[in-house]
């Protein structure tokens, strides 16, 4: 895929109580942000396993966002505190083995921070765009992957480019 037309694929693991609701608020406030990021809802940021992130990379994600309630605001009191320790380690580990820190980003977004949600998604998308596709991970098993004969695509080719500037406002 040429880089011109490349659009990053981003997964966001967010907690049900704060960030998911914050994303809802971004919607009700009609804030605009890029369409690259898809949300996977979990109950608490404390329940997100680092393997989820590796899986997302395996499945072609160019970047991952993890977001939960602000410290001391956790719906379950302490889930995000446990998560914070976990991510501190995991982030350092990924960095050490050569995965740039920008590929995996974290935020605390409360239910009232719709604007922040839109801003964070925009920022993450732009960061990942600047870094380019995360082929290093995907390419790892290319020798064991074959191309199946192309079937007629279920969707027309993407037409992002024309209006993409408008999207991020």
């Amino acid at each position: 895929m040429d880089k011109q037309n490349w659009e990053p694929k981003i997964a966001a693991f967010v907690c049900n109580w704060c960030t998911y609701t914050g994303a809802d608020l971004a919607g009700t406030s009609r804030l605009k942000y890029p369409a690259n990021c898809k949300i996977i809802r979990v109950m608490c940021s404390g329940s997100i396993d680092p393997v989820f992130i590796l899986k997302a990379f395996e499945r072609g994600a160019d970047g991952v966002l993890v977001s939960g309630c602000h410290p001391n605001d956790c719906h379950y009191n302490a889930g995000n505190f446990h998560a914070r320790r976990r991510w501190d380690f995991f982030h350092e580990l990924l960095d050490f083995i050569g995965i740039e820190k920008g590929r995996l980003q974290f935020s605390w977004i409360s239910a009232s921070e719709g604007k922040k949600f839109a801003d964070v998604i925009t920022k993450v998308t732009e960061d990942i765009k600047a870094m380019g596709p995360f082929t290093a991970y995907k390419k790892m098993n290319s020798e064991f992957t074959i191309d199946f004969p192309e079937e007629p695509s279920e969707l027309p080719e993407p037409e992002f480019q024309e209006n993409s500037d408008k999207e991020t406002e």
Binding site: E58, R59, G60, N141, F144, T145, I146, F148, E151
Partner: protein, 349 residues
Amino acid sequence: MTQRSIQMDEKIISRVDLLNICQDVIEKGNTLLTPGVADYSVVKDVSNLNLDASALPSKISYKSYVFPRTEPVLYYKRSKNDVQLIDVNIDSKKIVILGAKPCDANSLNIMKHLFNWDYSDEFFNMRAKNFIVIGLMCSHFDEYCFCTSVGSSPVSEKGSDIFLIPLDENNYAMKIITDKGKEFITPYSGYLKSGDENRSKRITENVKQPDVAFDSSEVYKWLGENFESPKWEGVGNLCLSCAQCAFVCPVCHCFDITDEDYSYTEGRRMKNWDGCQFGNFTLHASGHNPRDIQSKRYRQRVNHKFRYYVNKFGEILCTGCGRCSRGCPVSVDIKEIVSNCKNDQKELR
């Protein structure tokens, strides 16, 4: 895959010429492997190639080049009401192993039985067919070597297509053992000089060999009679249940089949090494595990190597290379275990 031994005169080849042959192998786009400390590795540049008859066997054997630790056996793609399958093309590149240890050289001969007795495994056979083994006499052994106890020796030509014996620093005696070897060497016959069989014989006869540690037929008998022996507990307590021994072994061949999706609709079926020492190896879906404790698993390992395989294919599933013991994190020594099994005074550990 037959390997009829043919008689051929012994030749002499100089080190330089041997390297020239190797260079040619590489240039023709084939793979050249030589043993290193850790593994048999692919040679890209022959200039600093060093054939060392006195090196210990590498930590890992070369079986992965015929029986890879992981390989796809088919690809699949799902659609709404259908699955599309695509077969795997097996790479038919020639692989030349230069300087295979005599203990390693025989490994494919032992393994081939398993891959051909009921179903002929085209993956294995295709690769084995393209395999040229140039064995090298072995002049050094350590406390773990026991090739002589399993019917081999440091000068055994078994399994080699071509066998080398170092004569001096710059020359090797070369024996061409098989048709495949002959076919391989013919284009290079210009490099070969005729040799003196007596000269190499003097060398091979004087090579120090490890003492025979056990009589494999007695071990065979003991195993048949002592399946329930409490002695297995000793080693069972010690062994940590990794599969290091099986994975470095030149002849262990268990594998596991697993499907892996690599996209929303596409995936591949993989064949991966497995090891009988893993606790989950025989775990049934029901939750029952016939080999639930390590002593049973270790018993299985020894029985498989020294009894079951003999029963089935007439060969011991062991080359005596000692890798498993040399690398064992808790120094479980299969030679010691097998030698001690008959001795009531000694425990197995």
